[in-house]
Amino acid sequence: MIRLEAVYILMGLLVGGIAIVNLRDRDHPKRTGNALFWGLYAVSFLFGSHLPDLANGVLVLAMVGVAAARALGGGSAESTTVEERRASARRWGNRLFLPALLVPVLTLIGTFALRGVRVGGVPLVDPRQLTLVSLGVATLVALGAAMLMLRPPAATPLREARRLLDTVGWAAVLPQSLAALGALFAAAGVGTAVATLVTEWIPLDHAVVAVVTYTVGMALFTIVMGNAFAAFPVMTAGIGLPLIVGTFGGDPVIMAAIGMLSGYCGTLMTPMAANYNIVPAALLELPDQNGVIRVQFPTGVVLLVVNTVLMSLFVYRA
């Protein structure tokens, strides 16, 4: 059975390869820091499942140490000039889009087609990880297709991946760290503490006040946690169920659906949702780390107001 572990090995090889390319780049001022950071990350992917928790923790601290020492950085220059790329774009035309579009299309097909495929009685792919394994396979196929089409030197994909990953830098690891932080928060009972705080300080003796507290609370808690899924159980157990549904007799479906979407408004506004807000800023080489959040903020605020009005109008009517 193909499990997620196989995809992790692939990731380990990629990140490890990027570390080696960095190490061998003698002109790069931060090659040692970059090589160390990505090398440690490769160890996490290749051996993380077999290491004790403490060793994995030390690995994380070492990576963070490299980032804290500012030893990480500096995207390397493009390997081709604009003129070369324009000429190449003219030569290949729209065929260039094919490998790029192959990734999402194959991921999608894989997710549906590999479901239920069995070899010798066991599923070919771990059914719980279909999408992620399909994504791994899709990237390999797309890479093969692009190599066949463009016929670059063999090391080119790794060098190009290194150029992109060094552009993103530490932000590439941030979403994973935030997911880990969410687990630590949950274990320490942060959610319950926030719910207690909210219910103690706000006079929730009016049905509409309960709605406003719930939707705004979902957004704020999501801003803090970076994830509406973490906010939902806490706010719904603290305010949604006991007050909106319990005391005031509101409809649980409308409460839950619009409550979750109020959390998503928070996701638009927070650096804690790194994979949506910080990673694209790095990927698009924006000078301002919060550039994407700045653009999304007004949409988030207005939509939160709309959600609150929608819930106030309908939750007590159904």
Binding site: Y8, L10, M11, D53, L54, G57, L61, V64, A67, A68, T80, R85, R90, W92, G93, L96, A100, L132, L135, T139, L143, A146, M147, L150, P152, P157, L158, E160, L164, W170, V173, S177, A179, A180, L181, A183, L184, A188, G189, A193, V194, L197, F232, L241, P252, A257, Y264, P280, L283, L284, E285, L286, P287, D288, Q289, V295, T299, L303, V306, L310
Partner: protein, 237 residues
């Protein structure tokens, strides 16, 4: 209230603009210590949680393909394709993508978008190309603003589309949570109540995209004072 110290650390760290990776790790360790764990125990918990969430980073497997295609002129091609279309403007290109992203997400096809897959190699160059087809070379700040809007179109379309699909994680989480509390609901009901917000999100963000178009047109007609348009090494990136 002791567990909340970690949140305070995170907020202060982000406001003071320390390296977010460092802030997040320190916040996690402080939270664990405040909850009464020993230092080694906290580091082990951190390592376990980090290890279990490695799947979050799998999207980076795309980098070799994207990098290879970029080297062969993918962004230039996406750029040229759009800049030659007469009716194409930055706002309209992004509006079309917003609609497409929302509809495909609502059908459960969430993997059809994303920042590494779509925004950097295709959408952002197209949005920039649409602007350059109108008024020639962009200055760096305008280029960065257009890119930020491209990223926002992907996010808004994804967030406020996916909840309409019945088998998505969020719907299952809500159903599961309500069920634990003795309330049985059909996923389809939760999906239907995601539609009004989805429409509102499209109207709000779509309107802002078209307003952004107008502002770009105004700036083309009357370029801002030169002092506002620094060009740097990122200008032709």
């Amino acid at each position: 209230m002791l567990p909340l110290i970690g949140i305070a650390v995170a907020i202060v760290g982000f406001i003071l603009r320390f390296n977010p990776l460092v802030v997040v790790t320190v916040a996690g360790i402080v939270t664990g210590l405040a909850a009464g764990q020993g230092l080694l125990e906290v580091v082990a918990t951190l390592g376990k949680a980090f290890n279990e969430n490695r799947y979050v980073a799998i999207v980076w497997l795309l980098l070799p393909v994207i990098g290879l295609l970029e080297r062969a002129g993918l962004k230039e091609r996406a750029h040229d394709l759009i800049s030659r279309l007469k009716g194409a403007t930055t706002g309209r290109v992004l509006l079309a993508y917003l609609a497409l992203r929302q509809i495909t997400s609502a059908l459960g096809l969430t993997s059809l978008g994303g920042h590494a897959q779509m925004v950097r190699p295709l959408l952002a160059p197209m949005a920039e190309g649409a602007a350059e087809g109108k008024g020639g070379e962009l200055d760096a700040p305008t280029r960065f603003r257009i890119r930020a809007w491209a990223a926002s179109a992907d996010n808004v379309g994804f967030f406020f589309g996916e909840d309409i699909f019945v088998a998505i994680g969020a719907i299952l989480l809500m159903k599961g949570f309500l069920e634990q509390n003795g309330i049985l609901v059909e996923p389809i009901q939760l999906s239907l109540w995601a539609i009004p917000t989805a429409v509102a999100a499209f109207v709000i963000h779509g309107t802002r995209l078209l307003l952004f178009d107008r502002r770009l047109a105004r700036e083309r007609a009357a370029p801002p004072r030169p002092i506002d348009t620094p060009t740097g090494p990122g200008a032709d990136a």
